[in-house]
């Protein structure tokens, strides 16, 4: 039986806000600065559970 829906607008960074700075290593071990890597392009930032399972 599904749980009642959450208000996802309240979760994480908000619409209208600049996406926070994120610096993480990618799959090659290279440190990636999200906004710098974007280089002025629009972007999709996907959060997912795992590449392993």
């Amino acid at each position: 039986m599904p749980l009642p829906p959450r208000d996802f607008r309240a979760i994480g960074p908000k619409e209208g806000q600049r996406f926070p700075d994120v610096r993480l290593s990618d799959q090659t071990g290279t440190l990636v600065d999200l906004h710098a890597h974007r280089a002025g392009r629009p972007a999709l930032v996907v959060f997912y559970r795992s590449a392993e399972w």
């Binding site: 960074p13 994120v22 990618d26 799959q27």
Partner: protein
């Protein structure tokens, strides 16, 4: 890929992501947030995972901690969030193409439209952003309407007595049809309509999200798509009409384990 940057974030180690990227030919950054510190700082961790999984009948698993709400943020050229989508069901997935089209106003041009119908005044083409679906996948149907010069059709808030543009899909077991999304119409002034009329001319594209929620084995379909409209020129209106298009879609077999995030090549 249309000059749009794509990033995917998970708590996987670089080693796991490296193997995954090699297997699926992924070249965009898969960011390693081991320990979920960044996701936690962003407020994205689902503290109710165990509870949610129990509700969906998923067995408890020690890996199911520090997990984010799966979803996507759409950023414009200034890095400002213009759209965010999260998935209520852990099985529901939108294709990357669907996200691009609806959030950024960019449409995947079909190599060959799945269906076409022609009339003197109006021509319609329809296509899906994927030729196949897997159970619980959400696809995007795009319907492109091309009008002969001088003719227009009406947006969804049509004036009295005028038939607005509408898309209907023949029922299919388990198929969930979302609302049609059209761009903003333009104002057209005509005597007798003091508030103006809101119309489309030239070429306009509407989209409809389709979620194939029947159990696996839902099979292949030919979707019956009906476009309803009323075409008018400056002088007079034709009778309301409709066009039928047939859009095939095949079921693809499910991969043995859940697919995370975007898997389409960019």
């Amino acid at each position: 890929m249309n000059g749009i940057a794509l990033f995917a974030v998970s708590y996987d180690s670089i080693e796991i992501l490296s193997a995954f990227a090699a297997t699926h030919d992924i070249t965009y950054p898969l960011l390693s947030d081991e320990g979920s510190h960044v996701m936690r700082a962003l407020g994205l961790i689902n503290e109710r995972v165990q509870e949610d999984h129990a509700a969906y009948g998923i067995q408890p698993n020690p890996r199911h901690v520090n997990l984010p709400y799966p979803g996507v943020f759409v950023l414009d050229r200034d890095g400002v969030i213009t759209d965010k989508r999260f998935f209520e069901s852990y099985r529901e997935r939108e294709t990357g193409g669907a996200l691009l089209a609806q959030a950024l106003g960019i449409f995947t041009d079909p190599a060959a439209p799945a269906a076409a119908a022609a009339e003197p005044v109006l021509t319609a083409r329809a296509w899906l952003d994927s030729p196949t679906y897997v159970f619980f996948q959400r696809l995007l149907l795009t319907l492109e309407v091309s009008l002969a010069p001088g003719f227009h059709v009406y947006g969804e808030a049509a004036g009295d007595g005028l038939t607005p543009i509408a898309i209907e899909i023949d029922p299919v077991p388990g198929l969930e049809v979302g609302p049609a999304r059209w761009p903003a119409p333009r104002r057209f002034d005509r005597p007798g309509f003091n508030d103006g009329l809101w119309v489309y001319g030239g070429v306009v594209r509407g989209t409809v999200s389709l979620t194939f929620a029947a159990a696996p084995g839902g099979g292949d379909h030919v979707l019956g798509v009906t476009l309803r409209y009323q075409a008018c020129d400056d002088a007079s209106c034709l009778a309301p009409a409709s066009l039928r298009l047939r859009v095939p879609v095949r079921e693809a077999p499910l991969v043995g384990r859940a697919l995370p995030g975007p898997t389409a090549k960019t």
